[in-house]
């Protein structure tokens, strides 16, 4: 369970990235965050695992007040939150398997950390994760030889290997072609349903968001301007999220969005 209470986030010289955010996300939800570039979507997601610090307010994840965590605690906390990036963020020169194995590093004894030699057990775990996203056969291929879609699946497997209970995804399909996007989104959906883990995803492709997510959160200029089930999203609401819409639409949409 993730709860934002009056969260504000200001970058350096007064860039207000998040303003007065109140939000509650339950276990097992599939939430899509949409909004214009620069609206604050990435910031929102990154606050959850403390990649960014919030400026004020309180953010509670699974009963833990995230802002109070320190050093080692933060790292321990992050272990159970998976994160997927638009650009996959893999080590391209290493093999697929090595990329997945990396997710076990924080728990290794020092000598293994240094040498990068992993036990058989961990290797099996990593291979299982690869199997879950269907690219087991690529385990020993170097990542830079994979297509974009396959790379995103490696990232997915790496995150699964962490055995997370929350999955954060920052525009995971932005750099994929339509066909591959669909496969990756299917993966997300399956994982979300089979493992009952929450997925919170930033996404630019509105149609895709509507198709896969249970719930849509619209962000504009750092504020949450819509929050509701995806079935209820209309063109007017989208207009409102993306363009600010007309005054009347605003109120209407806001009421609708404020039902949480």
């Amino acid at each position: 369970m993730i709860e934002f209470i009056d969260v504000d986030k200001t970058y350096g010289k007064g860039v207000k990235a998040l303003q007065n955010v109140n939000l509650k996300i339950d276990k097992g939800e599939f939430v899509a965050v949409i909004g214009l570039s620069g609206a604050g979507k990435s910031t929102l997601i990154r606050c959850i695992n403390r990649m960014h610090d919030i400026t004020s307010g309180s953010l509670v994840v699974d009963g833990i007040e995230v802002g109070h965590l320190r050093g080692k605690e933060i790292r321990k906390f992050r272990r159970r939150i998976g994160m997927i990036f638009q650009s996959f963020n893999l080590v391209t020169r290493a093999t697929v398997l090595k990329n997945v194995l990396v997710s076990f590093v924080p728990e290794l004894p020092l000598w293994r950390k240094l040498t990068g030699i992993f036990s058989k057990e961990l290797k099996l775990k990593a291979l299982t994760a690869l199997d879950q996203v269907g690219i087991l056969d690529k385990a020993y291929v170097r990542v830079d030889q994979l297509s974009g879609g396959q790379q995103q699946r490696v990232a997915l497997a790496r995150t699964l290997a962490q055995n997370p209970y929350i999955m954060l995804a920052d525009e995971p399909i932005a750099s994929l072609d339509p066909v591959t996007s669909q496969q990756v989104m299917d993966d997300f959906k399956r994982i979300n349903q089979q493992m009952d883990l929450s997925v919170i995803m930033n996404i630019h492709h509105v149609e895709v968001a509507l198709e896969y997510a249970d719930r849509i959160i619209g962000v504009r200029e750092g504020q949450i301007v819509y929050d509701g089930p995806s079935q209820e999203v209309t063109d007017d609401i989208l207009d409102y999220i993306y363009k600010g819409g007309k005054e009347d639409v605003t109120t209407e949409a806001y009421e609708e969005g404020a039902y949480v």
């Binding site: 790292r75 992050r78 272990r79 998976g82 990036f85 963020n89 893999l90 080590v91 990068g116 790496r158």
Partner: protein, 271 residues
Amino acid sequence: MFDKVFPPKEIILPNGKIIMEKRSRTPLTVLIVIVSTYLSVKFTGFEFLVLLQSGDKFFDIVVAMIPPKWEYLPNIWKPLMDTIKMSLLGSVIGSLVAVPAAYLAASNIVESKMVVMIARFVLSVLRTMPTLVTALIATFIFGLGTLAGTVAIFLFTLSYVGKLLYEQIENASMNAFEAMESIGMNRIQAFRYAIFPQVLPNFLSTSMFCFEGNVRYAAILGYVGAGGIGLLLDEGLGWRDYASVGMVLLMLAITVFFIETISEHFRKKLI
């Protein structure tokens, strides 16, 4: 500054829009280069005429080296091996030490500006010292012989590889680093697993390149008593025995060629 002295020129488009064209800096740069060249020529007594007239005398010594004195070969092996050992040892240790040094000097990894500044300053100062001077000082401290040479090579390698490595670290993509942090690694671990694999091939190739250079450089360390084949070179030159010098240089060239070929082979494999 420049733009104040030479204000930008206005260009008016047919549709009435105005754009400022900054004055090209090329003429000024060219002028500076020409003036500096002229001054340098004056300062160093450079005379092209002399080169034309007696440039051929350069080849007097080259000609004297040919053919090289083959009988000299047996004397060369040991110092040559010494030279290789010296450079190998200095390069290996230098490159290894360069990794933590570069880590500390990389501003995208280490957050403390102070640490970065200090690490960089040390690397820079090390780099400014001519190797021959370092070697000479090393002979005073570590005694004459190969140890001093090794120390000099070590210091040079450290500064050279260290600098290039931290530049590469700063240019490396931070994407994977970010992902590692999101997994819950600390910065050193994230560096080890995200950045290090990225810079590894380049690091190895820089180190090998440096090793090649060091073999060449070690050849003159003998001049200051730092051991190796330089002693033979010096002796040959002292006796005006250019045929032996030619032999030494030939062997050195062959060695360098081999090292270059081998390291080229591995570098291609790495990248």
